[in-house]
């Protein structure tokens, strides 16, 4: 059953709920015929679809609002990580030189052993 798109506000859900309550109160009447009951239930289902749609819209809206606040914090985290990378550059370069020297030392030891 297609649901007509409605503009969702913070009052939408309470309005839909009140409408469903009215329908349910009519459904409780034992004197209804089968056709009348089914008609009321079909109306109730349409309202339930509208309720689900409104819940979806509001949930998505909240999710988007939460996300929107985060961009500056993410930028700041990125800046900090870049600074850390900068601080690690020199130690890494010295480490690279040390690795080269570490290769030379055993070589020289070998050579000096041969000389002996």
């Amino acid at each position: 059953m297609a649901t007509k798109k409605i503009e969702v506000t913070t009052d939408t859900l309470s309005e839909i709920r009140k409408s469903i309550q009215k329908i349910d109160a009519q459904r409780a009447d034992r004197s209804l015929t089968d056709e009348q009951r089914i008609l009321l239930e079909e109306t109730a289902i349409v309202l339930r679809d509208s309720e689900r749609y409104a819940i979806q819209v509001l949930t998505k809206r909240i999710g988007t609002q939460l996300e929107e606040q985060l961009e500056p914090i993410r930028e700041r985290s990125k800046e900090i990580r870049e600074r850390i990378t900068g601080m690690s550059k020199v130690p890494k370069a010295i480490d690279a030189i040390e690795q080269i020297v570490a290769v030379v030392v055993p070589l020289l030891r070998q050579i000096s052993d041969w000389k002996i």
Partner: protein, 312 residues
Amino acid sequence: MKQLGTYSSALLMMLLCSCGVSKMQVDMVQNLALKSDTITHSPVQIFVNMQQVNRERGLYYAASLSSPSLHVNELESMVKTDAQNITAQNKAQTYVLALNSYCRALRNLSSETRWKQIGTELRGLGNKTDSVILYLNKSDWMDKTVPEGYARLSGRYSGWIAQRYMKVRQKKALVQFVTESDTLVSVCTEALIDVLKSPELDALLANEREGLKDNYTAYLQYLERSGAVNLIENDKLFIDLYSKSANAEKIRTNCVSALRYFAKAHHNLALRLLGDGSKKNKRKDRIEQLKDIADDLATLSLYTKQLIELID
């Protein structure tokens, strides 16, 4: 010896003028985090609870329909909505991940690796260079022998200086980032709190609470019309669901408190790093800095003694 005296005095001045982050300040950074590791403080749990209540009350309502085809249509619609809501729920967690990622970046910045690493590398380089000189001297390649021990000592001195420099640089970076971010964190957390306390979330929470009562009533009315007896299990489930919807509201309150606490902790950290804290904390930080200076003086005097021995 006069040059050695000048050199050592310069180092001493540098030592006294520059201080790194105190251990207590580092602990404050290491402990900074947004509390979200339990269900009672997880923003996703607010939406999970609401979804569970929504689903179960939907089942009650579907069961209250006398038409089988409408009953099945209702169930089908519920399944479609479930899948769509999960994506929206996961977005609720993103602010926790973003704030904790920021805290991890600060912890990384305040880690002692930032200043220790360079000292370790320079000392290692000094030691290895000395080993090269030792073997070069043993070989016949050079006419004159190169003095041994100086490279190792140079590595130690330069390592010490580099560590001092990096400590100062680390503190400067930490103070800069934390103080500059303090307003940002405050504004961001207030905005997140506004979203968590928004009329939209109020409407969703109220809808599940009231909708549960309405849908269960519709189900009970159907049972009464059809002459069936209500099972105690249905009432038990209703109670569980009602508690769940009440819990969703409590979790929201906890999430708001966690954000407020985080903003306050960040602000206190900023004050501490600027040296604007309480007299007690200022005294503790000063004592730590003096201990630091004493340790460095001991190291410096050891290296100077080794240098004098080498020269002699």
